[in-house]
Structures are given as structure tokens and as C-alpha cells.
């Protein structure tokens, strides 16, 4: 009973699929934008690979780029000032750094909306009070929060680095409908080709304390490295712990294998 019924059900599905095959066009609708979108360029950072470390000087430079450039539009909601001790700052430096920011608060006497000096426990304050304000100031596009950005985009750090360095004039053969409209900017690393963010970096836009030359490429690398850290502050620790666990388990597995061989030595199987 099961087999004849199953046979009929199977034929039903197969018939529906065969008809689907013959009614689905075999060619795709051409997508011209595809041919202009570029694959992200690889950027090598100290935090890559199986023996990563944080290049603290680079992270500090990257934070400077974030603070002086990106933070005008982009929030960093998940990062607290206390976290930047990871970047090699002392507790005192963190306190001073935090004090330089005004964070939303209330007046303790009247309860009215106010601001106060930042504390180590505060998070980086957002540039806009709310999404409406963010939209209004940015051609109707909300600048995304950057805390997780290197994990939240296909291509990760390579994508962020490529996007920052990828601004260029549209190629001559770009169809008119793909040309950037008002308030949009051409960037072949962006999936729509045109994005609302203008080219954010120009040579020597920031002045690095350690004397590193602030080229667009250098600043892009530095801020990308910083955003890899903001996305996963525990990245280096994760890989280090991973090796310890791995070698522990390797020894366990070798011992388990030897005891397995020993127990089965007299048994053919």
C-alpha cells in the first residue's frame, strides 16, 4: 500500500517539477550593475590569521580617524570608553579622553534634559539624537552604526577598506541609469554602485601623533583595523585560547587513540 501511494505522490512532484523546468526561462534578466561592481581588495592586518595580535599603534591611529572623521555621522554604540584600554591607553588617559565628550544626561536638580562630561563607563555618544535627525542630515540615508560593521558586511574588513579607498569618477561606459544621482557618489565596491556617503577621507586629513603619513590608504587601513577591534574586542584572545584548547584536545585524542588500540589489540574487527 505504501509503495503504490508513494509512487503516485512521487510522480505528482516530478510532474510539477518537469512543468516548472519547461516554463522557467533559461536565461537570466541581465543585470548591468553586476559587471561594474568590484570584488573587495584584500587588506592585511595584524589581527588576521591564526597568530593574530593587535597593532596598538595602528588601533590608536584608527580611533583617531574614527573620532575626527567618521564620528561626525556614524555612531559606535557598543563601545565604551573603558574598552579603549585594550588599545594601550592607561586608566588616566581613558578618563581624560572620556571627559572630552559630552554625553546626554538629565539635570539632577530639575530633571531637565542636559549633558555632562563623559565617564569611562559611558559609551561613545551617537552623533544624532535619533534616526529622524540622522536621515534629515544625510540625504535620507541613516549612517549605520560602526561597532559591528566589519562583521556585518560580506567581505568584512576587506570591504570596509575597499569602500573607503574606492571612490572614483564613474567609468565612461556606465549606463545613464546607473550614474550617481543628486547626493550620491560612485563607488564600485558598493553593491548599488552609488552611495549616499561622500568620499570621507583626503590625504593629510588627520595629523597622526606618531608621525605616520596620513595618506588615504593609511587612514583607511588604520580605521579598518580599529573597526575590526570594535567588532570583536576578544578576537586575539579567542585565537590564543583556541590554540591552548586545541593542543589539550590533541593530547587527549592521541591518548584516546592509543587506549582504543590497546583495548582492541586482541580482537579482530
Amino acid at each position: 500500500m505504501v509503495r503504490p501511494l508513494g509512487f503516485l505522490v512521487g510522480l505528482g512532484f516530478i510532474a510539477a517539477l518537469v512543468l516548472a523546468i519547461f516554463t522557467t526561462p533559461l536565461s537570466n534578466e541581465p543585470n548591468v550593475a553586476y559587471s561594474f561592481v568590484k570584488h573587495p581588495r584584500h587588506v592585511k592586518l595584524a589581527s588576521d590569521g591564526l597568530v593574530p595580535h593587535w597593532d596598538k599603534a595602528q588601533l590608536q591611529r584608527g580611533m583617531q580617524v574614527y573620532k575626527e572623521v567618521c564620528s561626525a555621522c556614524h555612531s559606535l554604540n557598543l563601545v565604551a570608553f573603558r574598552n579603549i584600554q585594550d588599545l594601550g591607553y592607561t586608566e588616566g588617559q581613558v578618563k581624560t579622553f572620556a571627559k572630552g565628550f559630552q554625553v546626554p544626561s538629565i539635570n539632577p536638580d530639575t530633571g531637565e534634559v542636559a549633558t555632562r562630561d563623559g565617564l569611562s563607563s559611558d559609551h561613545f555618544p551617537a552623533p544624532y539624537a535619533n534616526d529622524v535627525a540622522a536621515r534629515a542630515a544625510n540625504n535620507n540615508a541613516i549612517p549605520p552604526d560602526l561597532s559591528l560593521i566589519t562583521k556585518a558586511r560580506e567581505g568584512g574588513k576587506d570591504y570596509i577598506y575597499s569602500l573607503l579607498t574606492g571612490y572614483q569618477n564613474p567609468p565612461a561606459n556606465l549606463p545613464a541609469e546607473l550614474k550617481p544621482g543628486t547626493g550620491l557618489h560612485y563607488n564600485p565596491y558598493f553593491s548599488n554602485l552609488n552611495l549616499a556617503m561622500a568620499k570621507p577621507l583626503a590625504d593629510n586629513q588627520v595629523t597622526y601623533a606618531d608621525g605616520t603619513k596620513a595618506s588615504v590608504d593609511q587612514m583607511s587601513k588604520d580605521v579598518t583595523a580599529f573597526l575590526v577591534w570594535t567588532a570583536e574586542p576578544k578576537l586575539v584572545k579567542r585565537v590564543q585560547v583556541g590554540w591552548a584548547v586545541f593542543f589539550f584536545l590533541l593530547i587527549f585524542t592521541v591518548l584516546a587513540y592509543l587506549s582504543y588500540r590497546n583495548i582492541w589489540a586482541d580482537k579482530k574487527h
Binding site: V2, R3, G6, F7, V9, G10, L11, F13, I14, A15, A16, L17, V18, L19, A20, I21, T23, T24, P25, L26, S27, N28, L50, L78, N83, P144, S147, L148, K151, A152, R153, E154, G156, S191, A231, E232, P233, K234, R238, V239, V241, G242, W243, V245, F246, L249, L250, F252, T253, A256, Y257, S259, Y260, I263, W264, K267, K268, H269
Partner: protein
Amino acid sequence: MSFPWAKPYEPKHPLMKWMDEKLPIPRLVYNATGPGYPVPRNLNYFWNFGVLAGAALMIQIITGIVLAMHYSANVGVAFNSVEHIMRDVNAGWFIRYAHMNGASMFFIVVYLHIFRGLYYGSYKAPREMVWLLGVVIFLLMMATAFMGYVLPWGQMSFWGAQVITGFFSAIPIVGEPVRQWLLGGFVPDNATLNRFFSLHYLLPFVILGVIILHIWALHIPGSNNPTGIEVKDEQDTVPFHPYYTAKDGFGLGIFLLVFVALTFFSPNMLGHADNYIPANSLSTPAHIVPEWYFLPFYAILKAFTFNFLWIDAKLWGVIAMFASIALLFFLPWLDSSPVKSSTYRPLYRWFFWVLVADVLLLGVCGMMPAEQPWVILSQLGSIYYFAHFLVILPIVSRIERPLPMPNSITEAVLAKHAPDTVSGPAAA
């Protein structure tokens, strides 16, 4: 419940004797996973995956309970509470990554466990009930994994919930009300997140219960083995402990090494970048894709693009997707061949490997956007999937002429170790 030569439990210590009279748990363990449970002597490494699936479930339950201590199931804070676990909770990043990749490891071992069963005919009499309970576990796992993926309340969580619960709206008349009842609203929202959290916490314990039934049902006929020949006498078996506890210990080591490599060195490899963006009901991701372990079924869903008979394409897809799993319940009766192991089934063996390739192909198709050639490949792949179980298998099991089989497990083992006198002097 076991073979007559099974070693009886004889407590020696007075405390154990006392315990055995009051609550014979040591006896249960001894007879289930100890020296009192005889197992075929010829099991290969594919028989490790049952224990590994159990280990994976325990890892999920333990990490999950800890995560639930720090997670908040509220749409306003769920996403940030996960990031709080990643950043501020001691070793929270480890617990969360272990849970995230633990789900993948669980599915990897369960898929290998299922295909082991398919190759060696473990679903056949006298083990039909073991197989049926296994399919129930698989379904419960899928529901649990889906609801777990919604909890971080990222973009893929939200849109995955939207798409999956949308299956129900394909059902005529009652579909939309059922969907709203499941979601607790018109779109996935706080009510959805709360109930998914509740059920995601509940279902693993239901799975644990069904696993106990699965093992119970298994221990009545005892384990299948690579020859598919039933145990005949004592020399066909070895006691579970120490023989298979030792082998499972080694298997567990390998499993944990892979698990650790994934969790510590590439924890986001099997995930989606979009799920690190907080859920936004106004912005649809470019490609909504489920987790990798659902991809073959997702490909079957998408393969149906034609309104055939009075059923529209979407409903066909939904029915076919559920049918692709439901048909596994009938497998013991679709395959009428009395021979279990593919070792002795020259024809079925070929179709088995085509099925493996087909499921992998469907997995790739499920990941790809709805463009050619992926659409036609998923259609061809789905045709083979249904044909394999519902058409080919019943026919093959009828016309196939099995290879000559040894008389017993021991004979098969000894033949393997005997000097090969046929193929030349080198073997001597």
C-alpha cells in the same frame, strides 16, 4: 531486551548492593552502556556519530542554559544583549560562539548519522522504530535550530522568521490566520521572540526525551553493523564497555578538535554577515538565506515555480519541502529488500551515492539566488530526490540481485583478516 550471553550486573560493594535494591540506576547504566550490553564487533567509525550527536546535544544544552542567564528576549534589547554576552560577560564570547557553532556541529554529525543509516539499512526491520524516532528527533532539531537563529534578532533572524512562518500562509483559507496565531501578530515581533525563546528552551529537553526512546528502541534488537547481518552468537559481539567506550572516546576527541577549530579560529564562517545588523522590518536583505543545514530543503521549496493543477507554485513548494522530510517516515516500507547493507546491494549502492551528490547539489542551489542555472539545477535535483525515495528505491529493492553474503558477522570479520590467496603472492 539483550542477548542471553550479556554479562549480568553483579554488585560487589555493599553500597552498590544496597543501591541496586533501592534504585537500580547503576544496573541500568551497566546494561545500557557498560559491559552488560553486547555490540557487534565489526562496527566501523560511522557508528561513532550517535554518541557524538548526544555529546553535541549536551554541549548545546549546557552552553544554552548559560546563555539564557544573560540573554533578554525582548525586541528592544535582544540584539544588544547578545553583544553584551560577546563583550562584557566573562568568557561570554566563548559560550556564545560554542553554542552557535555547536548547532552546526550537531547537524553535521546528525546528517552523517542519517546517511550511515541509509547506507547500511539501519532503518529496516527490526529497527523501524529506531528510525522513526530518529526522524522525529531530526524534525525537532530543525524547529529548535530555526527558533534559536531568531533569538539574536538580527536581520537574518527577523527575515528568516518572516519567510519560514510565511510557509503557513500558503495554505488556503486557514493559512493566514494560522500564521498570525503562530507569530502572535501580523509580523514577527516581541510576542514572536518571546515564544520562540520559550520553545527554544523547551524543545532540547523534548529532544533528550525522544533520544532516550531512540536508544531504548535500539537496545531491543541491538545495533546494526556494516554487514547488516544480525548477531547470531556470542563471538559476533563485544561488550560495549570497554570496547566501544574506548572507540567513542577517540571519536569524541576528533569531533572536539573540529569543533574547536571552527569555534575559535573561524566562528562566523557558517553564519551570515547580515545577522550582525539589528532586525529592521523596513529593510529587506538582498538575499534571505537560511542556515546551511536547511539549504537542501530550501532549494526544494524554491524549485517549484509552476502552478500545477489547482495548487499554486508556492503551496507546491511548501508541500514538497515538508514531504521531502515526511517521506523518511515511510522509508522502512518503501525499501522492501531484505538485505540491509549496501555492501551487498550492487545496484542500490550507486543510487545511494547519487543521492548524496544530489543533496549536496541541492545545498549549493539553496544558497544561490533565484537565477539560472541554479533554478534548473534545483529542479533537477528535487526530481531526483523524490524519484530516489518514491520511485527508484521500491523498484531497485525488487529487481536487485544481492551479492553473496557471509553467514555471520564473525565469518565476515575473519574473511577480512584471512590471508588473501586469490589476488596473488604479495598478500601471503
